[in-house]
Symmetry: C2
Subunit: 206 residues, 2 copies
DNA sequence: GTCTATAGCAAGATAGAC
DNA sequence: GTCTATCTTGCTATAGAC
C-alpha cells in the first residue's frame, strides 16, 4: 500500500532489492509507531523488537544502528507528506485557482500527519530531538518539501488572494506551524480537525 | 528579577523559605536552559550538575528526583507566560479594544517563549515527552492559561472583529500553534519574528 | 551543603551458535 | 535471519564521609 513511495528515489534499484524483506518493513512500521507515540530517545530497540517479535540484537541484521533506523523512518516521513500533497494538488487539474490548491495542500498535510502516516508524525514529533547528524541528512528532503509551500503562497500572492498585511513567509510559517502543532492536541476520537484547515484558509486567503 | 513569580501561588509562605537558596535557583536555571536546548530525556543530572558546578548526587539535596526538578521547571514555565500575557493585556487599560488586547497577548507570548524565559520554552519543548504523571500535575496550570486565550477570542468574536468563517476554537488553536511552533525555526540572530504576530493578527482579526 | 563511591538498572551494540 | 549471551557505557538514585 505504501512501499512504492517508501523507497522512491533511493537510486540503484538493482543492488537494493536484497533486504527489502518483510522483517525490515515490519521494523520500520513499528519504529515509526513508537517514535510517534513516545519519541526517539524514549523508544528502545528492545521495545521495537518486542512488538516486531524479535530480539533487539536481531534488528542489527537489518540496520547498522538505531540512528540509521531513525534516519530511514524520518526520511520516509517527509516523502510521504511531500507525495500526498503533490498528489492532492495535481488532482485538481491545471486550471484550479491558488486558493483551491492551498486548501488541498493543507488538508493533505493534515490527513497524512494525523491519520495516514506514523512515519510523518514520527518525523514531526522527533526531528528536534534526534542526533544532529541525522537532522543534517534530512535537510535536503525537508527543503524540497518546504519549496512546495513557498510556491503555493507565491501563487496566492500573485493572484492577489493573500490577506493584505500578511507577508508570504509569515503565512507559510503560520500555516505549517498551526498544522504541525495539531499533533499536540489531536484526538482521533474526534476525527480530523478540518475546522482548523478551513479556519486557516479563511484567515489567510480571501 | 523573576523570583517574585517563580514561587507565586505555592502557598504556605512560612514553611517554604528554607530552601529557596542560590544553589536551588541555579539548578533550576541550568535545568531550564538544558531542557530547552536538548529535551528532558536527553539532559542528564550530570550535565546539569556540571554547569552548576556541583556533582549530580548533590542535586538530590535540593530535589527529590529528576522528575520533581522537571515539574518545577515546567510549572514555572507556564506561570511565566501566563503572567507576562496578563501583564501585557492589563497594561493597555480597560478601554482597549479586542484587537489590541489580542495583539499584546500574542507579542507577550512570543517574547516570553523565544527570548525571555528558558522555563517557558522548556515547557513547550518538553511537555509531550515528560513522564505522564508530571503532565497530569501541570494540567490545571495549563488550563488556566488556555482560559485567557479563550476569553480573548470570545471578546474578539463578540466585537465582531474575528475574520468570518473562522470559529473561535480553530482560531485559538491556530494562533497558539503557530506561535509555539516558532520555537522550531526561531533564529536569535534574526531577532523576534514579529512579522509572525502581525501576520496572524491581520489574518484572524479585521 | 557538597563530596566520593557505588548500587542497580537499562541502553546500544557486538560475537558466535544455530 | 534470529537467538543467546555479553560488553560497555551512561543513567537515576542512595549512603555515608566531610
Amino acid at each position: 500500500m505504501v512501499e512504492a513511495i517508501t523507497h522512491a528515489g533511493d537510486g540503484d534499484a538493482t543492488k537494493r532489492a536484497k533486504r527489502s524483506d518483510a522483517s525490515r518493513q515490519q521494523i520500520l512500521d513499528v519504529a515509526a509507531k513508537l517514535f510517534r507515540a513516545r519519541g526517539y530517545t524514549e523508544t528502545s530497540l528492545r521495545d521495537i523488537g518486542k512488538q516486531v517479535g524479535m530480539k533487539a540484537g536481531s534488528i542489527y541484521y537489518h540496520f547498522t544502528s538505531k540512528e540509521e533506523l531513525a534516519t530511514e523512518v524520518l526520511r520516509i516521513g517527509v516523502r510521504r507528506v511531500h507525495h500526498a500533497v503533490v498528489l492532492a494538488v495535481e488532482a485538481l487539474g491545471p486550471t484550479a485557482d491558488a486558493k483551491s490548491r492551498l486548501r488541498a495542500a493543507m488538508v493533505a498535510h493534515l490527513e497524512t500527519l494525523l491519520d495516514e502516516s506514523d512515519y510523518t508524525s514520527a518525523h514531526i514529533h522527533c526531528f528536534p530531538y534526534v542526533p544532529e547528524g541525522l537532522r543534517g541528512q534530512l535537510s535536503s528532503e525537508r527543503k524540497e518539501y518546504e519549496e512546495i509551500w513557498r510556491k503555493l503562497l507565491d501563487d496566492a500572492a500573485a493572484d492577489g488572494v493573500l490577506t493584505p498585511g500578511v507577508d508570504r513567509a509569515a503565512a507559510r510559517l503560520a500555516i505549517l506551524g498551526a498544522l504541525n502543532w495539531s499533533l499536540e492536541w489531536y484526538d482521533p476520537k474526534q476525527g480530523l480537525p478540518l475546522h482548523l484547515t478551513s479556519g486557516l484558509l479563511a484567515a489567510f486567503v480571501r
